[in-house]
Subunit: 432 residues, 4 copies
Amino acid sequence: MNEKVFRDPIHNYIHVNHKVIYDLINTSEFQRLRRIKQVPTTAFTFHGSEHSRFSHCLGVYEIARQVIGIFEQDYRNIWNADESLLVMVAALLHDVGHGAYSHTFERLFETDHERYTQEIITSPETQINTILRQVAPDFPDKVASVINHTYPNKQVVELISSQIDCDRMDYLLRDSYYTAAHYGQFDLTRILRVIRPIKNGIAFARNGMHAVEDYIVSRFQMYMQVYFHPASRAMELLLQQLLKRAKELYQEQPSFFEQSSPHLLPFFKKEQTLADYLALDDGVMNTYFQSWMHSSDVILSDLASRFINRKVFKSVTFDEKDEDKLEVLRKYVAQVGFDPNYYTGIHVNFDLPYDIYRPEKAEPRTQIEILQKDGSLAELSTLSPIVRAISGETYGDRRFYFPKEMLSEDDLFADIKKSFQAHLNNEHFIGN
Amino acid sequence: MNEKVFRDPIHNYIHVNHKVIYDLINTSEFQRLRRIKQVPTTAFTFHGSEHSRFSHCLGVYEIARQVIGIFEQDYRNIWNADESLLVMVAALLHDVGHGAYSHTFERLFETDHERYTQEIITSPETQINTILRQVAPDFPDKVASVINHTYPNKQVVELISSQIDCDRMDYLLRDSYYTAAHYGQFDLTRILRVIRPIKNGIAFARNGMHAVEDYIVSRFQMYMQVYFHPASRAMELLLQQLLKRAKELYQEQPSFFEQSSPHLLPFFKKEQTLADYLALDDGVMNTYFQSWMHSSDVILSDLASRFINRKVFKSVTFDEKDEDKLEVLRKYVAQVGFDPNYYTGIHVNFDLPYDIYRPEKAEPRTQIEILQKDGSLAELSTLSPIVRAISGETYGDRRFYFPKEMLSEDDLFADIKKSFQAHLNNEHFIGN
Amino acid sequence: MNEKVFRDPIHNYIHVNHKVIYDLINTSEFQRLRRIKQVPTTAFTFHGSEHSRFSHCLGVYEIARQVIGIFEQDYRNIWNADESLLVMVAALLHDVGHGAYSHTFERLFETDHERYTQEIITSPETQINTILRQVAPDFPDKVASVINHTYPNKQVVELISSQIDCDRMDYLLRDSYYTAAHYGQFDLTRILRVIRPIKNGIAFARNGMHAVEDYIVSRFQMYMQVYFHPASRAMELLLQQLLKRAKELYQEQPSFFEQSSPHLLPFFKKEQTLADYLALDDGVMNTYFQSWMHSSDVILSDLASRFINRKVFKSVTFDEKDEDKLEVLRKYVAQVGFDPNYYTGIHVNFDLPYDIYRPEKAEPRTQIEILQKDGSLAELSTLSPIVRAISGETYGDRRFYFPKEMLSEDDLFADIKKSFQAHLNNEHFIGN
Amino acid sequence: MNEKVFRDPIHNYIHVNHKVIYDLINTSEFQRLRRIKQVPTTAFTFHGSEHSRFSHCLGVYEIARQVIGIFEQDYRNIWNADESLLVMVAALLHDVGHGAYSHTFERLFETDHERYTQEIITSPETQINTILRQVAPDFPDKVASVINHTYPNKQVVELISSQIDCDRMDYLLRDSYYTAAHYGQFDLTRILRVIRPIKNGIAFARNGMHAVEDYIVSRFQMYMQVYFHPASRAMELLLQQLLKRAKELYQEQPSFFEQSSPHLLPFFKKEQTLADYLALDDGVMNTYFQSWMHSSDVILSDLASRFINRKVFKSVTFDEKDEDKLEVLRKYVAQVGFDPNYYTGIHVNFDLPYDIYRPEKAEPRTQIEILQKDGSLAELSTLSPIVRAISGETYGDRRFYFPKEMLSEDDLFADIKKSFQAHLNNEHFIGN
């Protein structure tokens, strides 16, 4: 095939040389990713980050392609070129099961985008499966097994998911570019120069350790400063409350939802198929929410309107030990006239920026190995003081959300609001 | 008001110091721009350019704010600070009437986004109008008159629309950043240093002429290389044919469209209101197109599917004199089984990169004036050889579009396709 | 004065609005900084970093100018505008006493660039002093006192030197740009938005803490990865040995040095004046070294040639406890024919990335204060987990340097070299 | 050889895989380029552009290496891999004969950096020649013939010098980065994707024509806005007058110059050798000029001081027809006390941004060929309207320089200066 290229702000160009890759990009399941934002709630805070999963998936593929190119050229003795296409395909498709507002949606409807990724790859009814089967009858299963970590060759698995994989490398650079929060930048070129296939996985040459270190720190900063931003989490919580209200209301008013949001019905009834899932995207969901703004249920219509028109909840942090005491805040919210079941909520975000391999854990991490001059391996945090300083610990906060109206002062409820505000200091909840 | 800021990839931060501006941003009419892409068909070619009108409008406002800040500080004798808020508001709202896929939509439904902009500003039913009226009863009309060029102070009008206005400056930088086509970059900082209010408009100091020159060249290159890209225009044409088919079919099958695309009905019936217009956005339109993919009408469902799944038409350029001869190509297309009324089309794109003021023209341009050391003005192209070289001329091409299938060779229609292809050379139509 | 601007890659433009600043830039003492590299030995490793002290000093001034502009506009109640010019002048001149290869030079000749800075400012024989006296007779002394930290207003002093001052902010951004080691980038715009004058110094608003955090991390990474680069330190060590040899040789062969390096004589004799110091710059020093390449002393000529032609020493790290054992390596170096007094050396580099204020220390740090919503201050590391993780600790290493020839194998001394190499593993010295 | 890399701001990394290349970089003749600025007089105007010929030469090599890599991989049928090393070496060495302030120096001393480049490559006394001879006895001559355009394979020659060669591509990007004049940026990645070896030279695929177009425009803008900047040319002219004075004065006072500027003597006497030429660099020349500041000749010492301390001459443009009339200005300059032979001068700068091949010309250009889909070639300006608009024409201006003092007003010579100024308007000389 003649090489095709896609102009890309992160990698300059995405290069496609395999017909399989090109055909996969052109399937309806993959093109659908154009209609799903990469960070949909973050975009309400960082307006620039309106990019889609489509762009991200191309980017992950491109990083994988570059890694493979280096492995094939310089490490033929230890890298099996027969695995190359598999890596590129798995990179391209690793997120193909992502849906509209996935994280919130999954919580409410007990779905799982990773299971959908598996299904899209292995179900004979998809265009993607048809193309993969043309490579080899067992190729779809192979791709699926790479994505769910069961593929035997750890070199392949770790390129797609580990503490420093193609997925994370692309999203840090991309989200950084689009949000304009430059913290996520790191030296990808250098990492590509020092990445090495080793016997049972992936390592990085010692002379590039600083680039790996910088990647860990960048990732940490993106979590603290972008992904955990209080306003974005407010929008997540609002969406959660909106879907919860709709799900409950459906029992009473099914016909309203049949009219206004047909493709959500199977989810309300817990009888959804793959086709139902694929029918949903950001635009479809927002179209439904816009219909709900005209519902006769005041809570549904108000929450929908707040979401569509970006009326963010406000929040304060609180200490874990004080969680029970938050009831006092909920009480004031209710007194002002907001049902606290829908108008307040707790959002907890914690991240473990890096950890060594701990076999006793439920999901042990694959630690990052540094390849030294004499051929021995050393785990990253034994060499890097800065990684050591942040590894093994989680960082984040607990937030209590409530309507912005609780912070205004000029109305009938001024006294109640004052009492409410008396519990807050420097945006933190004072428990006593 | 405490200053609010929005992180922005182009201007680093958007600064908001006026409550009026902040309230306008928070209206439902303005938040709606988040759901409308800035360059929706371009995004099918340059996948990175998924940014919205919302981002662009904030950017235009920010440039205006910076210009005004300089005028207020350094040119008080000639700049009236009472006009400052007006400029910022007009900059923010100049595009507020843009709708989903505006350019194509307007052609089909004889609507006009500029008229909608006027209406959103002046109609008492909008949130925007309510806020503007709080400034002064005649403020909405003033804002509207700036945008439609009838406001008497030309300084104000030219900042919002002229050959080098805040709108163009933002979209060149922004589209350039998001498409990754760096041609659109120019030195905004320098231009801000040399922009000057003059008696009857806006000028640029002589020592910054090269930055203005570079802006003109950048704009020219963005048109040639990004906005006029054949693949994006293919998607525009496809959309046009899809909407045309829907409009015709509505006469026969109204109930299908009542179900599948309720908010388009008023447009089919030519009885739309402002509320109808505001109900449409990219997500709503795409949701409709996705429904149409299940229509019983094969042309409608196929065109919808081609649009949603990005199956671009191919094209060749042709000379104006050969337009009549294109019938031969349409004939072959029909023989292969595609109705040429829907599966072929002509797309003509021409741009006049810069022109002097020509009062005899229907829409004369406001030429760019350079302010010389002795206080006299000189029109840009008299000083700049490169602007002179491209001014007054239009650049662009005429393209004939057809299904990609006409270029394949391996089927029943191989002979017809070969005859078709015999008329093409180096992607150009050979008339004879 | 009409504003003058200097195009600058870091700040886009340097703006000069005060005649005093413009005149200072045009003095011979300040123009001399064009001939002194900012990071002369680093440039041997990162070839891009060939920028001068001149560029850096303009940059420090520009940051100071921007800070002052914000203070004057928004914090008039607490910032005294009479201090503004003082801050800008101190920022511009804080490094004016830097000389050629300062750090190494000072060690050898017991000079001190900070004392020269004071002298250039206060000595009546300089052009700089003449200009400063025109502002006010005591102005030179005021400027000098800001730079040596004795000026009573801590707001002024901390802008010029503290753990986050205009000097450091410029050099991190600038050295990062020129070396292409992007680690040094941080969000200056954000820091400028949240910097605040407080009663007794400078603080940063809570909502910008992440930018301050990122600055600390960036600075840390630049030290670890750029400033402490082993190859640059090799060049420093080589220069040190070269100057040591010259100084010793001068006693024996004064006439050679009178001919080849006249402006160094006063330093050899310890009778240098300010004029002697100002006569030296990188070009003059290199011209001397080039002359020394023709010396009859083989050590002098060889070391000069190695320096001029960038023949870097190699190095290994070693543990503090093993320092005495390095003698074994020196012995092998001597056996191969290199005098270890000149051809080996130890270079120790440690940095304390951040620390709280510790009054018991010899040079206590001014800790970074974060201004909270309720007006209270909190020390940075109490709020930032990542700063806490690295604060109060020093990072760096000890290196033993030796001629690259010790690592080759193909000659007469192969056995000695093998014995030498047997003490090294993974670029570390094995003591036992 | 293990790959070596150099961190580079333009190309991210310079990759060296051939021992020959690495050894050439480490020669004293090549390392000497670290001490020669790429744009020495431009750095007086754009202070950021302090980069050296060393950096540029590495960059030209890196572009060549990338081109060759593509040719070897994709165009084996038409590209002979035996030529690859030759291209890389010629790219690396094409400027190795550049000396301190070459352009001005050559004019005064009738030397020629291109001839020195040839000599450094072919003279058996250089380290470079020794390394080249190890490749093959005739390799030095081959390299030299590529650089002087006589090598028979035009593919090789055009990569090194043509209207779009590796040299120009690097210096535009590099000078643009360091000056911060972004006009010089163009899409190198795209150009590398479309560059093709053809039978008798180099061409560019049709689908990358816009990148070539943008390169031509960028180059044009860099000439107009950076290289032809009046202040930089003022410094060139000043240097020229300084050297002229020195050369004349040498006849009278040889001993002063023997002391102060020994390595210039052979040039004054026209008996210089290659070794003499290599002994000069920016630092050596500036050291000499600093000595001349103490000359008893007032003109020499004043001009030296003006150059070292950057006292730029001012200038006005003039029309060619008025050149004779400039005598009136010189007369006034003399009346004020400046010898017009040294204190005034004419500087003419013109550039032909692009031209087709014109065999009748003394130095015909190699026109840029575009490779079309059907394999035919088309000359660039036949396809590109913007290149056509500027091709075949020269752009630039003529300037008359004089001391800045002529523009002040407040002294004894006020009347003479007024008469002088009466001949100037908008920085242009009025002839009548």
